[in-house]
């Protein structure tokens, strides 16, 4: 049992904005005020007390990041911690599994979602998730180029699609439905791609528009906690903001009272105007306006960080382009009839005009989109390390800090984006919303992102007084977010004064949506389909018993 007293609490979901109050944690959960005798007490007088941070999109486990590690020993030479009471931890922007858990905790994050797993590789993803200490986690299997999905979408057979989604989530112990460049990865198997949401996918007579809307319909009818989570077509290309706008508008046909019906991820990479690399510009304002005008779409930033990154995505055709553009080494993996993956190292250079535009676009989105509709992300490790979240949050909060940082960027940024004319400074309440409340709501995790009774006992104390800080003093803000006084995970103190002091093992959430579906209607299809697989249907997927700490969430 833990008693955090006198802290200044910001808990936007429960309408608490900078109130001095006490928080009690018992058996890993926030509880009503209890008998405090004999209970461990932390004095948080004058300090900010918030819920643990949530990263809703970070490639922290599975074949992609691990291939990235193996192909980039240069990334692993950065030593974060020697072995001792805890594990050794290494990695510059690509981190080892122990380092991932430790570094999240060290900036006050207690939950992270692996957002792109090829289902056939899901055992590997879970093995890595289970090797990450401290944080809670979940994984999203990839659906957007999977043959049965393409077929059911072409046939507009939502019932079968629902059964298939429910079957996959159970087999993979997956949390939700991820789409990456729907249709485009299948086209890549023939050396192509799709260029708009109305292009036809070779061999299937179906369009990305149909794949997306069919999956939204299936997910909504299944009442999954998380909506469809999409990486749009045309990622990375100048002029792609139009495809993104078209995709966002597809949500207009759907409603959900509890949450969005479409989460569009790392939008920065999909928010460019222009027709080539020479006239690329920001489409952030258009997209922000559209998102703010709708109430059923959310996004995350995908903020690039100047410096080293490793791009990794199921968007194989884009990765091949990037390999040619960056003249960098390239890993590719075409995966059965499901999906693919590509990995290319990258450096975001402030002196590069395109990179400067990308940097500004991410911040424009972060500043212009309502905090209830956008979450902080770097699309780790695509835009850069997640350890930069304090940096991003400080940029959003302090115009003065932005001005300092903008000086580093290429002057073309000034011409191609409107970042320098944005005066907006997000408040502490807003950035806490963007890093806690919004991601929890987007994911449909009711016990996360807030400090109400019954919430998870994941609490962070930052060395900043919410009632008395200045946005001009960005050094203080940055330092506070980089070094939590305490990170508490499920009631256990894991970080104190920015240093690791405890190691716990979190849970893996998965969604059981089988209640209202039957596999009977897809059995014949599965049987036929597994003729083309190289593993047997019965050997496909992962059992709960193989996971360290699984938590089943029933849809509906």
């Amino acid at each position: 049992m833990l008693h955090i007293k006198n802290g200044i609490v910001i808990d936007p979901k429960n309408g608490i904005i900078g109130e001095k109050m006490d928080i009690f944690i018992k058996d890993g959960k926030i509880v009503e005020e209890v008998e405090v005798n004999g209970c461990k007490t932390i004095d948080a007088n004058g300090k900010l007390v918030v819920a643990g941070g949530i990263d809703l999109h970070a490639h922290i486990a599975g074949g992609k990041i691990n291939t990235g590690r193996a192909m980039r020993p240069e990334e692993m030479r950065h030593v974060r911690q020697k072995t001792g009471k805890f594990r050794a931890a290494v990695g510059r922007t690509l981190l080892t599994s122990p380092a991932i858990g430790y570094e999240y905790a060290k900036m006050g994050y207690t939950t992270a979602i692996e957002p792109a797993t090829p289902s056939i590789y899901v055992i590997h993803t879970h093995e890595e998730l289970d090797s990450i200490p401290i944080i809670d986690k979940a994984t999203l299997p990839l659906f957007g180029n999977w043959h049965p999905v393409l077929r059911y979408s072409a046939d507009k057979d939502i019932e079968k699609l629902k059964s298939f989604v429910a079957w996959v989530l159970e087999r993979t112990k997956g949390y939700g439905v991820k789409l990456v460049n729907p249709g485009g990865v299948e086209a890549w198997m023939y050396g192509g791609n799709v260029k708009s949401i109305d292009d036809t996918v070779p061999g299937f007579g179906v369009t990305p528009r149909e794949i997306i809307t069919s999956l939204i319909a299936a997910v909504e009818e299944l009442k999954l906690p998380h909506s469809v989570h999409i990486h749009c077509n045309n990622l990375g290309m100048p002029g792609n903001y139009e495809t993104t706008m078209e995709t966002i508008k597809l949500a207009k046909g759907f409603e959900n009272e509890r949450r969005q019906v479409l989460h569009v991820t790392h939008v920065q990479f999909n928010a460019y105007t222009g027709s080539s690399w020479r006239d690329i510009g920001s489409g952030a304002e258009h997209i922000a306006k559209l998102i703010n005008s709708m109430d059923n779409v959310t996004i995350d930033m995908g903020q690039p960080i100047f410096g080293y990154a490793t791009t990794m995505t199921a968007d194989c055709p884009w990765q091949f382009e990037l390999h040619k553009i960056a003249k960098a080494k390239w890993c590719n993996r075409d995966i059965e009839l499901e999906t693919g993956a590509g990995i290319v190292p990258y450096v975001y250079r402030p002196k590069n005009p395109v990179n400067s535009v990308q940097w500004a676009v991410g911040l424009e989105l972060g500043l212009l989109v309502d905090s209830e509709k956008i979450a902080v992300s770097t699309d780790y490790p695509n835009g850069g390390p997640f350890t930069s979240y304090p940096y991003i949050v400080t940029l959003l909060m302090s115009r003065k800090f932005r001005e300092e940082e903008m000086k580093k960027a290429h002057p073309y940024m000034e011409k191609a984006t409107s970042l320098s004319s944005i005066d907006k400074e997000k408040s502490l309440e807003e950035v806490i919303t963007m890093t806690r409340v919004t991601p929890a709501k987007v994911l449909g995790m009711e016990n996360k992102g807030h400090l109400g009774v019954g919430a998870d006992g994941d609490v962070v104390i930052y060395d900043i007084d919410p009632l008395n800080y200045s946005s001009n003093d960005w050094q203080t803000i940055l330092k506070a977010f980089e070094n939590p006084l305490y990170t508490i995970k499920s009631g256990e103190i894991v970080v104190k004064d920015g240093e690791l002091v405890g190691e716990t093992w979190g849970r893996t959430f998965w969604v059981d949506a089988r209640a209202d579906t039957t596999t009977e209607i897809i059995e014949a299809d599965l049987e036929e389909y597994f003729n083309y697989y190289t593993v047997k249907c019965c050997n496909y997927g992962v059992k709960e018993a193989w996971l360290r700490n699984p938590v089943r969430i029933t849809a509906g």
Binding site: T83, G84, Y190, C331
Partner: protein, 417 residues
């Protein structure tokens, strides 16, 4: 049991029917794997039979007292055990290395230089109309590869053998060559030159290619380049013919560049023919736990990767280790004699189901359950696809995981951390 998983080679066939004694759908090697054979009977310390607990305690003492123990093997056990092995190496300040360092490690070095444009075995089955075997001999090393994945199998788009153009390139006419539509015999050690010639032809620099390269005429090379480029979806499988010959990682790097070039015209993927059933896992687990796949030294309290110093063979030949833990492997049979000589000088702890050449050198021998028959866990097929191998019958032997778990506990206890 139906759909059991075979634990011999990198194919990891998952359609084995096992009745407790013999298995169906097995290749000759798999059949031998599943057949009953001589086992290490009991834990032994210097020839004396002891309990598991005593053998493990003694082993922990040897390891803790060593300045820099070598922890080697791992390719023939499950990821759960490998993970403990990596942590054990970290806690001991030792060296973690795995069988890859005498097999496909040069492929990792090539990946570090250029990446690997790859794919799963299902892509060969479903899409490939051109299949190339370069310096590999699946008929003898991965017997069911051609029928399950790459040559005779019926796929989604490619409906069988007659729709696949099969090329075999090797220095000798192997059993696999008899499956080929075309066989190209090259001179030993000339793979690199042949890749360069093919890249030149495909890139339109035909004039730069001499009349003969590596024993193949320019005419034949042009014919081969044509076949490659006319494939709609090609898969190139390569083996130790590249990694064990002159050039090693540079050979693989050049074939990667050839595949990069081919992808500018059509679609191609490249797949190494990995040997042991979980040699991929022995690299992957180490990568997520410590950042590197093999040749990892922990003597400074964190992981360092340096293949020219920290592979098992190098560590032994340089006399840079003073004890060894060998798990599910037989370095005494498979390392060059100079390395085996050092192994004979130092205390060796062995964990293995079967007596082998390393047993002859081992001071402490700990028998383990047979993975995939008596013990379960996760393994990665040659293309990285994870499969859960099963426990098909009961045993009195401890699993690698159980042995290593207790050993790690003992080590932590002895080190007082």
């Amino acid at each position: 049991m139906r759909n059991a998983v075979c634990t011999f080679c990198g194919n990891v066939c998952d359609d084995i029917e096992f009745d407790g004694v013999t298995g169906k759908n097995l290749c000759p090697i798999g059949e031998a794997k599943f057949a009953a054979k001589r086992r290490i009977e009991a834990p032994m310390v210097r020839g004396r039979r002891v309990s598991y607990e005593e053998a493990i305690e003694k082993a922990a003492e040897v390891l803790v007292n060593a300045k820099r123990p070598l922890l080697y093997g791992w390719a023939s056990t499950v990821n759960e055990a490998i993970r403990l092995g990596v942590i054990l190496a970290e806690k001991l300040g030792g060296v973690y290395d795995q069988c890859s360092s005498v097999c496909h490690a040069p492929s990792t070095l090539a990946m570090i230089e250029e990446g690997i444009p790859g794919g799963t075995l299902g892509q060969a089955k479903n899409r490939a109309d051109v299949v190339v075997f370069w310096g590999c001999n699946p008929v003898e090393a991965h017997p069911r590869h051609p029928s399950r994945y790459s040559v005779m199998t019926k796929g989604f788009l490619t409906k069988g053998r007659q729709h696949r153009h099969v090329i075999v390139v090797d220095v000798r006419k192997t059993a696999t060559a008899y499956l080929a539509t075309e066989f190209y015999q090259i001179k030993p050690g000339y793979d690199y030159a042949v890749f360069t010639a093919l890249r030149s032809i495909i890139n339109g620099h035909e004039k730069a290619v001499p009349e003969e390269v590596g024993g193949i005429s320019k005419k034949k090379l042009k014919e081969l380049a044509d076949i490659l480029i006319n494939g709609k979806y090609g898969v190139i499988f390569y083996g130790l013919g590249l990694t064990h010959s002159r050039g090693q990682d540079r050979n693989v790097e050049n074939i990667v560049k050839l595949v990069q070039t081919l992808n500018r015209h059509t679609r191609y993927i490249l797949q190494p023919m990995r040997g042991h059933f979980n040699v991929v896992g022995a690299g992957e687990v180490a990568a997520w736990e410590a950042g590197y796949e093999y040749a990892i030294d922990f003597s400074r309290g964190y992981s360092r990767f340096l293949p020219s110093e920290f592979t098992a063979v190098e560590v032994l030949v340089r006399r840079d280790c003073d004890a060894a833990l060998i798990v599910a492997s037989d370095p005494a049979a498979h390392f060059p004699k100079e390395a085996v000589k050092r192994l004979a000088e130092i205390p060796v702890i062995q964990i293995d189901p079967h007596p082998n050449v390393t047993t002859l050198l081992a001071d402490i021998v700990i028998p383990s359950a047979l993975v995939g028959i008596e013990a379960e866990g996760t393994v990665y097929r040659m293309d990285g696809i994870p499969l859960r191998v099963k426990k098909l019958k009961d045993t009195g032997y401890w699993s690698d995981y159980e042995i290593l778990k207790l050993m790690l506990d003992k080590v932590i206890q002895l080190k007082g951390e």
